[in-house]
Symmetry: C2
Subunit: 758 residues, 2 copies
């Protein structure tokens, strides 16, 4: 925990062992299996594979069952050629507007290699397949199953200044995001950019939410409309912003360059119709059939989680609203205990299932795999997050009274346990504040708990593991009487690396998921409690910082991948924004007005009104979305402008290069005189040829010889014009008159209408 | 009418005057205004402007108030440079995958200039602004308002063989479409491709429509579902096909190359942030404000046309179902007469209004202008086409009985006209066959009338105008005693050109509109009469041929514009497909079942059921669309494959060119030995440098000097491994045990579930 502790103190960055990474690019944690011969053979293969691609390696003791291999680039030429090749590929795929300089040295002078670029390419060098110029090391799979992890080392002085800066400023600016991008790659930078935009945008709903809370009260239609409009504007705006950022970061279209998934299993090899090479092929229809399993999967999620929720819900209702026997104050926690013990397990099982299903779908590229996984994770999260509110709003409140007879099961059960005592029950009454109470829980309590967990749990976990480990190490040492010593000048550095090796791999999807779920609460249910956006706003200020700390201290430094958007989460946001129009309109209709809800009796619900409201709200939403999308599409943005500028410059340059100076001049139209000359020369020659060969030409030739040159054409034309007797516009009188009248009437009418506007 | 007559006979193509176009590229019809001095000055300017861009011209007598200027390319070099430049531009905009050959002569040998390409570029030469290398002639506007039209001449031998081929074959193939593309450009070819695809796709609904008619009867939910599914599949398929065709025709992304609109009016000149040049600027917000006028425009359309329809509807109901007095059989036609006399006028006024509104929106490019106009035209057509059926289905049938009291207005009016006679009225009864009758009218009668009109009206019009003109010409000749004679060998050719000058300009939007409206009947209302698709299928066979004849004989030859899709009509199709899910589900719910409709009484309508049906149908539609889009997206297509192939070849070539043979070889990773050598050399040198300079290096240098070379790393690694005491996977025992159990349980569970599938 030295890194954590020292980072927490303000002068942590001055400590020597934090200042240097010993020029290490990557650390490979190599796990030692019980069979030591196997371990040694694998280790030799590893070092050889690394050396083969121009990487230098040093090995140090890791822990009792692992060694740490430190890797840095030895052959800078080879890395440079890889980077140059990558930049060229970027250009060919349309990621860059212009090709890199042909002179390699100059190319690197003009565009120096950033840390993220270097780390990304070294990582690719280690992991790319051999036939693609890499070492082909794939952690935890196949031949390399002993390679536990490959990670770069944190830049602790950057991290501590990063956290310090962010903790003391209210708003992040572009420089902050650029720093993240340079250190952790565009993939992580996009998350922070999204979160920052989302945070900034939330000031609007926080303000009108607060106003609505003061003036309009709960379940306000106006608030729901404003909130839905906000979600549309934010979503459409972000889609634009995303493109903009991608252009500014030079990663637009980078998703076109797909990294093959190492675990892809092919059906057979087939000739690629495009490249002509043999490629691994998996029939898409076979995949599509597997994908159809998502439907039963979603249904299973709904049933399993729904059943759990309904059970807990029933218990809760019974205990809080009906039961009035002994231990009531303790028993009230029963459903919470059931839920918080079973839900994580169920979630884990379902997530694992989602994992396996996605694995079975066998995507060819990492991006497609991620998208497939995110779809399923989103379904699970949608159900676990929103079911309690769904049940309260659309089951408990309208049908509560009908549930009474079923609650007698619980009464009977309870009576069986306490047959002797006469158990008292109170009369069941719908609790109209239940919905609001739940919403407050999700908007405030859960968020606070969550932020706390993000700090505390990893901390405790690491402390505990460290304790266990040091005890085990001591015991092992006392048994064998032998301790491996590090060189004294490296000890602290190695200790830090060992700490980092134990950290979790940072997965940006986890953070996206959290924000997307929050966005869902906002769009779907925030009309229940209009202070929700304000609460989220405050939470997100901390969220931004706590996520930064999670990366800086709680995780291994992420591989700086590139990406050109927030990826599959965009669809999830769009879906929630749309679903918000349905759910929030239904809630406002059901609970708006004096009575605040149907009070447990479905006959209080005006079904036609409800359906009309939903239909209307949804189509209003779709219409608004169309207009907002169009209006935003009309606006220019710095990123797109930059892109156009680059493309224009590139086009101009290429045109000049290809056409050459001569062609550029020849493109100026011939002046009248030269034009005339061409015509005359051509015609005179043709006339000569005609007279010498046959005496008279073809009709085509004769046709074009009647008027030799411009002057004759003009002369004849003038004669024809002077002979003509023009009438009204060349049309017959009746027709012309009709058209004139018609046009005059229409014009008159229209201009008078349009003038009303000015 | 000579061309028409001769084309109709089978040997028309053999006639001499049809065989040659005298090498003419374009004919300019120059109108002579009453002021002859002005006419002559304008004419001189015209000829000079043409000559300046390397075009030769001949002038001939047109009619009494016009002369015809024949234009052909004199300076082939200049045209070639323009074509080459255009091809280069195509490449730079990503329309072509590869750049044209650098050697110009070779470039034209490899890709000869097609007729469409030549004509398009000559037209651009005539109309492009002067600073862009053109003559800047803009027909009917500004300086060139006397230029009535610029048109190419029909290739009559092609036309007659075209019509002959199409009349004798059932299906069009790719060669047919390619021919159209080469003659009339991609813009027209896309229309025929769309119509042909639509026609081919209609076999499916025609077949199950026929089956539904036999077995299921009217208002079948199954038919409505199948029909809606069909519309989704067709729409999504066409979006794919469109891209495919664009790739095959080499026009993909051609919409990126925008032609500036000549009538664009700028607010002020501003510096273009992209090119740095001064450009004409019109603030988009100002345009957006004008665009908002579309909303009152749409409302006005609904009100004006709605009022007309409701009035006629009332009259019709009264006359057919209530009135039983004298002249009933004649009076029945009253509403038809009112409608068919007022509707065209109203439509014309609204279309004119749409025109003016679009003009006011002041778009910068022709494409944006067209899209804006099409949106409005679509609104007008939507209302004029579908209102009668809307009124019958959703007003007459459910609310018919409530309308009775209002019909007494007509009774009173009628009684005022015939106070003496005792007017008999029959009792009002809802006519359940009304809806079907209307649908049959729209699906059969109207289509037949339409095809007939497309042939007969233009024919009659031209015959009449020609009569009037020849009478006028004779009268003029007898007054002045002077007739202009053509040279005898040119007479027939000139007569043909004069005929073509009188023809209308072909507007592909008119044909698209017709098909889109038909598609709307299919998706919205065809469940009323399941034979509708069959009827449309038959109609479209003729439509394809009649449209071909319209181009070949009824219109001037179109300018062969390029395009990469059916443009704004795609959105209209998507909208109708979606609206179909709402309307047809409502119709099926209202009229399905035994009673066939609510019989005029709204209390027969189960409103909740109706709303639930609509909501369900719409979301089923959206879900299906999502799945179909995804599934189609997985499929490869020859066009996309071709594109990828070209891009791959281009990339490979460019990579080889840029990196050179050396770099390609250097990209092979260094072999173990060379890799080792680099490492060793680098390290030895470093060691030497260190020992000579300071005696001991920095910690970083020392870190990497501990293991000199691969062999030492391996040796130390093996030592470390042999010393280690590995435990379960490097994790603490408790944790490892827990994880193993958890994983085993989950894996067991999942594999047993998944194995059920196989």
């Amino acid at each position: 925990m030295s890194a954590f502790r020292e980072l927490s103190t303000s002068d942590g960055a001055d400590l020597a062992e934090l200042k240097t990474n010993m020029n290490v690019d990557y650390v490979i944690s190599y796990h030692i299996p019980p069979d030591k011969a196997e371990a040694e053979a694998g280790f030799i293969q590893l070092i050889e594979a690394l050396t083969r691609v121009g990487l230098a390696s040093e090995v140090r003791h890791g822990n009792d069952s692992s060694v740490l291999v430190f890797v840095k680039v030895a052959s800078n030429q080879y890395l440079a050629s890889q980077i140059y090749r990558e930049r060229l590929q970027d250009w060919l795929y349309g990621v860059r507007a212009s090709a890199p300089e042909k002179d390699v040295t100059k190319a690197f002078e003009n565009e120096p290699v950033t840390e993220a670029e270097r780390l990304r390419l070294v990582y690719l060098l280690i992991t790319k397949p051999k036939n693609d110029g890499g070492a082909g090391i794939t952690p935890k799979s196949g031949q390399w199953k002993q390679v536990a992890s490959i990670f770069p080392l944190h830049d602790h002085s950057f991290n501590s200044s990063w956290i310090k800066t962010w903790s003391t400023k209210y708003f992040l600016d572009e420089v902050d995001l650029d720093n993240i991008r340079n250190k952790f790659g565009e993939s992580v930078a996009f998350y922070f950019a999204f979160l920052q935009s989302y945070f900034a945008f939330q000031f609007a709903p926080a303000a009108f939410g607060f106003a609505a809370w003061l003036i309009l009260g709960r379940y306000s239609a106006l608030y729901a409309f404003a909130n839905s409009l906000w979600s549309v504007v934010f979503f459409e705006w972000w889609k634009k912003k995303e493109v903009d950022l991608a252009v500014q970061w030079g990663v637009r279209n980078v998703s076109r360059i797909q990294h093959p998934r190492t675990r892809f299993q092919w059906d057979h090899e087939a000739k690629d119709p495009v490249t002509g090479e043999l490629v691994k092929y998996y029939p898409p229809m076979k995949r599509f059939k597997t994908q159809l399993l998502q439907i039963p999967f979603a249904i299973a999620c709904v049933l399993v989680l729904g059943a759990l929720y309904i059970f807990c819900f029933g218990v809760e209702i019974f205990l809080t609203e009906v039961y009035d026997g002994p231990f009531k104050s303790y028993l009230t926690f029963t459903p919470t205990i059931i839920l918080s013990s079973i839900l994580p397990v169920l979630s884990a099982v379902l997530t694992k299932f989602a994992d396996i299903l996605t694995e079975r779908e066998n995507y060819q590229t990492s991006d497609a795999h991620l998208a497939g996984l995110v779809r399923k994770i989103f379904v699970i999260n949608f159900i676990t997050s929103y079911t309690p509110l769904f049940l309260s709003a659309f089951v408990y409140m309208p049908f509560g009274n009908l549930m009474m007879p079923y609650l007698s099961i619980f009464t009977a059960t309870a009576k069986r346990f306490y047959p002797d005592k006469s158990m008292t029950t109170q009369e069941f009454r719908i609790n109209p504040d239940r919905l609001k109470g739940q919403m407050v829980y999700f908007a405030v309590t859960a968020q606070i708990v969550n932020v706390a967990l993000e700090f505390v749990v990893p901390y405790l976990k690491r402390v505990a593991f460290k304790k266990v480990e040091s005890v085990q190490a001591k015991r092992a040492a006392s048994q064998d009487g032998e301790i491996i010593y590090d060189a004294p000048e490296e000890r602290k550095f190695l200790q830090r690396v060992r700490d980092e090796a134990k950290l979790e791999v940072y997965d940006v999807a986890v953070d996206y998921r959290e924000m997307v779920v929050q966005f869902g609460y906002l769009t779907l249910f925030s009309s229940i409690w209009p202070l929700t956006p304000l609460s989220f706003l405050i939470n997100n200020w901390f969220e931004l910082r706590s996520d930064a700390m999670k990366i800086a201290m709680g995780s291994q430094r992420p591989i700086p991948w590139r990406s050109d958007s927030i990826g599959p989460w965009l669809n999830a946001l769009g879906f929630l924004s749309w679903a918000g129009s349905l759910i929030s309109s239904a809630i406002v209709f059901l609970f708006g007005g004096e009575s605040e809800g149907p009070g447990g009796d479905p006959s209080n619900v005006h079904v036609v009104g409800l359906l009309v409201t939903i239909l209307f709200a949804e189509h209003l939403y779709l219409g608004t979305q169309f207009v907002v999308r169009y209006a935003l599409g009309q606006m220019d943005s710095p990123g797109l402008q930059k892109e156009r500028k680059e493309r224009f410059a590139m086009r101009k340059q290429l045109l000049e290069e290809t056409l050459g100076q001569d062609a550029m001049e020849a493109a100026v139209p011939p002046t009248p005189k030269t034009g005339e000359k061409i015509t005359l020369v051509a015609l005179e020659e043709e006339a000569r040829r005609l007279s010498t060969s046959s005496g008279s030409g073809t009709p085509e030739q004769m046709f074009w010889l009647r008027q030799q040159g411009m002057d004759e054409t003009i002369a004849i034309g003038r004669k024809l014009i002077s002979q003509s007797k023009p009438r009204n516009n060349g049309k017959s009188t009746i027709q012309a008159t009709f058209e004139t009248v018609e046009e005059a009437v229409v014009d008159e009418l229209l201009s008078s209408i349009l003038s009303l506007r000015d």
